[in-house]
Amino acid sequence: MVREVDILKILNEVNDPEIPVLTVLDLGVIQQIYLQEQYWIIELTPTYSGCPAMQQIEVDILAKLTEKGITNAKVKHVLSPAWTTDWISEEGRQKLRLYGIAPPVNEPNKSVLFSDPPKVACPKCNSHDTKMVSLFGSTACKAHYQCNTCKEPFDYFKCLK
């Protein structure tokens, strides 16, 4: 008899295709898991509306479940409640840092124009003397930063609330 906890354990082996150190559970994109008319329904919520990784995540989830012998599963895309970076787990934040991406910090209100960019610590040398190069980075969820101490350029996972 498959239980919810078994599904969770398998989902913990499914990684984000864009940031492969994070599992889908670390990322906080799994909303609910339940059994409905003989099917395990896995509710998946997107990080950003246009995030192209979502379709791949669905494919990867179903493939991993099938590999473990669970063939009666479906992925359901849900938008509400909307994902926020607060749902990235503590472990996920640590993994991001080790991978070279600065995890989200609390940011000032977005309606304030020309506000100072968020103070982000360098994931390489931990210096707080860093600068934002571009608010828009390599993917929708990231901004581009550079460390003034070790000079290393790095990605910052933008705060989304």
Binding site: P46, G50, L79, S80, K110, L113, L135, F136, A140
Partner: protein, 252 residues
């Protein structure tokens, strides 16, 4: 009019606004004035495409004729697109693109904020998701409008030229007809006058800070919401729909 079909039409109009503007922004890919801006414009485009997919999915459900988001996006004729004329206007220079974006973002943000309260659950969910992205977009376009307007003589002139050219298309953002009246009467959508007032407040304060002026000329263009488009739309769709027209039902 059946409420379901009014809602379909309303959501389709929103979807088309997002898709057509996304297509225009995508044209900047590889042509941005600086690398960071190239990435910013295409990131914003991607957000709009994502929002369009959610909105088209909802429209397709409401329509109930078995069409999917791809068919709605790629397999309709020009007269069936209901986007406002503003979003289909050519990119022009960077000032023209940014002013077009600013006028649109300043409209979309209060619209999404209000739609979060809609009893149409799916629409409220899309609004709640998209509002966060739209805040970023408005911050970005507002800052550029101020930088350009309050910048050099050349950037100021280009920004003012863009406003003078685009102003005639902004009235249509607040277009309402029987579809809106029916949905408003049922409490499904917000009152457009409220949205317009908020838009005007944002536009007035940002343009003032940018030392730019609102044109006195009140000439208005409209027709997009009824499928009557400017001469630019056909060329845009020829690009947008090329793959589906050449290879129907193709997938990546």
């Amino acid at each position: 009019m059946m409420e379901q079909s009014a809602l379909f039409e309303y959501v389709l109009r929103m979807s088309d606004d997002s898709l057509i503007l996304a297509q225009r922004l995508g044209e900047w890919c590889g042509h941005g004035p600086i690398l960071e801006e190239d990435i910013a414009l295409t990131n914003i485009s991607l957000d709009l495409i994502g929002q369009a997919i959610s909105l088209y999915d909802l429209a397709a459900n409401l329509e109930g004729k078995g069409r999917n988001h791809d068919q709605l996006a790629y397999m309709r004729y020009e007269l069936e697109y209901k986007n406002v004329l503003l979003v289909e206007q050519p990119n022009g220079d960077f000032a023209m693109t940014m002013l077009r974006q600013f006028f649109f973002d300043a409209f979309r943000l209060p619209l999404y904020e209000a739609l979060m309260q809609s009893p149409v659950e799916q629409l409220a969910a899309i609004a709640a998701k998209s509002v966060k992205e739209t805040r970023y977009h408005l911050k970005h376009s507002s800052e550029w409008v101020i930088r350009m307007g309050d910048g050099t003589d050349e950037s100021h002139k280009r920004a003012q030229d863009a406003i003078d050219h685009l102003w005639r298309y902004t009235h249509e953002l607040f277009y309402v007809d029987a579809i809106d009246h029916a949905l408003l009467a049922d409490g499904k959508i917000p009152n457009m006058e409220t949205i317009q007032a908020k838009w005007m407040t944002t536009v007035t304060s940002i343009l003032q800070e940018a030392t730019l002026e609102i044109p006195k000329n009140n000439w208005k263009f409209e027709g997009g919401r009824e499928g009557r488009h400017s001469e630019h739309m056909g060329y845009l769709l020829a690009d947008l729909q090329y793959m589906q027209r050449a290879y129907p039902n193709m997938e990546w």
